[in-house]
Amino acid sequence: MSTKTYKKSENQIAGELSDKMTIYQDCMNTFNELPVNAKRCRILISRLLRLLANGETFPESEATALFFSVSKLFQHQDDSLRQMVYLAIKELSSISDDVLMATSSIMKDIQNGSNLVKPNAIRSLTYVLDESTAFSAERLLKSAVVNKHPAVSSAALCTSYHLLPISETTIKRFSNEAQEAIVDLKQFPHSSMDNSEFYPNSTFISQYHALGLVYQLKKNDKMSLLKLVRQFAEANTLKNQLAKVQLVKLVNDLIHRDPQLFTQFQSLLDNWLTNKYESVQLETAKLITSFSINNSHLVSQELYISAINTLRSLLTVPRVTTRFAALRVLNRISINNPEKIMVCNPELESLINDSNRNISTYAITTLLKTGNAKNISSLVSTITKFIHEVSDDFKIIIIDAVRTLSLNFPQEWKSIVKFLIDVLKNGEGGLKFKNSIIEAIIDIVSFIPQSKELVLDNLCDFIEDCEYNEILVRVLHLLGKEGPFTSKPSLYVRHIYNRVVLENSIIRSAAVISLSKFALTKNDPTLKDSIVSLLRRIANDQDDEVRDRATIALELINASENKHSLVAEQLIQSKYYYDLNSLENKLTNYMSANDDSFKTPFDVSSIRKFTEDEVKAMKLKKKQQQAVGNNVENTKDAVVPGTKQTDNRIDNDTYQGANLQEHQEDLLETKYADELLSIEQFKEFGNLINSSKPIPLTEPEAEFVVHAVKHLFKDHVVFQFNVSNTLTNVVLDKVTVACSSEGDNQLEELFTLPIDRLLPNTEAACYVAYKKDEAFAMEGFINILHFTTRELDPETNEPFENDEGFDDEYEIDPIYLTAGDYVKSSFTGNFENTFAELPSEDVAVYNIKEDLSLQEITDKLILNTSCLPVSNTQFAPNDTNSHTLKLFGKSVFNGSKVALVVKMIKSSKGIALKAQGRGEDATLCADLVNNLM
């Protein structure tokens, strides 16, 4: 070992890879030698490929030199060398632009090469052809597709598949040949000797490739896809396993385009569930269960049960990948229908001991979801043992699952908190892991108020010995936020002050803020003086930041002596949270406008504020939607071979963080509000009180796509219609929406603001403003889009001078202002108590004739009332015929509470609903209860 010397290559992996430059030099010398030494070249190319496969790259000049040296090996006719040359060309094509130079040689091999090199030559075409040259390979490719040799045919099919996006017109002409290749059972030509059962003479993989290509060619033609499925589903022509799986995916694609088709596939799917290939069984079970998430009424009970049974049996097969895949599907089901897979619990429990950690972790997270009040504590003790044995990534997955569990079974909080505190204090693990625990704990404290004191006490213990600044700071913040409202605030003050004495300046600063929050606590007025004297002491700290914070805190506490000043309350114990998106936006504008060198102070009053309960409600709602959203996404499984899976989080199913789309929705909301408020005519309406989510009023593929947003002011309502013009050569002038009331005229139209000109492929908004007399005015409107179309001159991008245009109109969906628009979601830790305490009550009964599932009704109610579903009632079990939904919200005007309990019973005649509502505001409560549907 000691003799090992330093080599010039820096990133050598334990001496495994030889020096990059050595290989480069060897290649350059050997490839250019005459005569070519085929064997040596082959070995060198394999070394080169290994380098590239390990992620090494060459600068472009060297890659180019390599490419030309490799290309010179075409002079040698050795087939094995030629194969290596093709591999090298494919790899180098990504770093050097000169692959073009191999074109003629490749074409020649495709035409005259041996069957050994032909497939390689064909496959390399993908890398050298472009839109302008693809047609030149048409004839060659086409005849290769129908070649009798399976390897040649497969190569041609795959290449066509990859060329499709590059040159659609050329590949489109292969349709018949590709179709033929599905049926053709190609076999390797061989001598009689190797015709043994151990060496099958074909895997028939070309069937798979052919099916993949045919699908791509016909994917927009539903009828021919249907024909394709019929042709191959029954007859036993598909021998290849992957091709069969592909067929299942094809069915999946079809039923997602047209759910009604499902019925005609039921028996076929049932059949596939017992197919001899595990992968076919698996894919079919996956299809049935994921389709059923949104279309449960179309899936027969028996079929669903068979699918679950298939998955269950796959949990015990020897093949690891199958077990894993089956588990994954079950895990997805567990997210919103845990009760459906409870039959698998025995198998799942035995998988906890599976030697594969991926499987055992998945089994546990699934069990955590199928768990019920009865077995939670035993489960938690199982994972307590398990969690210490796995890596951080798995630990985080498990913690996230526990976090969801705690929200679903708030009554079980004690054992869960015990578990979390235990792993927090005793578990080995990095910052990310510990942070995920803290996050789970913060969730529990904010959504399960009863847990507060126990958690805080334990956290006080924990911070006595915590190695991560980030976590300490979060805990200190939590103590400061929640501590003042507990029964013994002084306990926390002691622990926090200890940090000031013992820790570094970052933590000291956080502790100062946290301490100051105790000064105003009502639970222990004596604390104020102690806090003041502690802060005075801290005001001599050696660190600037700590000193500054202490001084400001003292100042604010002093100000609170003055009973009329709210500054202290607002800043020390803020009850509001600003809408961060809008704050950021306005601040950026403020900074960039800067006309008077910041003489005018920044005005925060126009920024939306939320109360704590509203913030909690928004968070919870997002979590609920995410659970469902995940599934919707997963059902859109790709039908194409080789499509990339884009999401690569290992904890995808449990990941709770914000996603991009959500963030964009938030931003959009802020944007709409800002745009609205910047319009002169709306200024006198005062503050914007609430805005709805955009509601689609047209089909998404219509020529003019319209979305509406309802904005509420104190005495006014504004409808915003976002119109987008999807046409390419027509502009729309004077775009307005005419809204005519369906009935009782509670709103009085004031004015409309048209879109002057809507260019092709753009979106803009027109507005209709109303005055409303009733606080909770409700009304429906029939809407007609009016506009003048004018043809666009492609030269100038302006309408033709002499084109008068002609007026046109277009009916779009109606829009309703309902009771739900006056409500926003809010959170309550104890629904039953809150409900009981609310003064006025209303009851209404509904009978619904439409064929809807309980889940669909539930979703609709949540949407219509804008309330937050609490106690995990947003999921309607679909194995029983009744469900109770609990909803909670507040008036958008004054924050008065409303709570609803909706009982629903499904029978053969439809669904009966009984809604019982209670609220602080009798009108709002009655309006809500009477306008559920």
């Binding site: 005459l34 010179k72 006719q77 073009l100 130079m101 003629s104 040689s105």
Partner: protein, 183 residues
């Protein structure tokens, strides 16, 4: 056995060495046609060469490694990647393409100025002589300024790849020069 002897014989006479020959010229001049005329003695149907063709052939006991590079504008910049160790260059000119004689001349001289080609012999084929209106070899020679070439063995031969005329004469001359100068 026979092979064994012949290779012994080659070695003794120093002729087992492969000779690298490049065929260059503007697109459509007839390079690929000439290459296969040499290799299989027939006229093949060609497509514009995107890249190169390389064939090994034996001519008068010599092993020739002949590279026919595409002549399209987009490919000409790559010629230089194949100059190393070249014994001779065959430059093919379409004698009917009067409009592009200047271009051909420019490409030829640019190529010959390259360091790596200082020792290679040059054979020019004034090709497509079977066509009416084709310039004669001496006219082509003038257009290409061949007399300006110093320190280089060169020759120009009138040829028709289609009819198979002039090709062997040209090659015979080339082989003789190479044997004399380089072996």
């Amino acid at each position: 056995m026979g092979n064994y002897f012949s290779s012994m014989f080659d070695r003794l006479w120093g002729t087992n060495k492969e000779l690298r020959i490049l065929i260059l010229g503007l697109d459509g001049a007839g390079k690929t046609t000439i290459l296969y005329r040499l290799q299989i003695g027939e006229v093949v149907t060609t497509k514009p060469t995107i890249g190169f063709n390389v064939e090994t052939l034996t001519y008068k006991n010599l092993k020739l490694n002949v590279w026919d590079l595409g002549g399209q504008t987009s490919i000409r910049p790559y010629w230089r990647c194949y100059y190393a160790d070249t014994a001779a260059v065959i430059f093919v000119v379409d004698s009917t393409d009067k409009d592009r004689m200047a271009t051909a001349a420019k490409e030829l001289h640019m190529m010959l100025s390259e360091e790596e080609l200082q020792d290679s012999a040059l054979l020019v084929f004034a090709n497509k002589q079977d066509q009416p209106g084709a310039l004669s070899a001496s006219e082509v020679s003038k257009e290409l300024n061949l007399v300006d070439l110093k320190d280089r063995s060169w020759s120009i031969v009138a040829s028709s790849a289609i009819k198979g005329e002039g090709i062997t004469e040209g090659l015979d001359w080339l082989i003789d020069v190479i044997k004399e100068e380089q072996l």
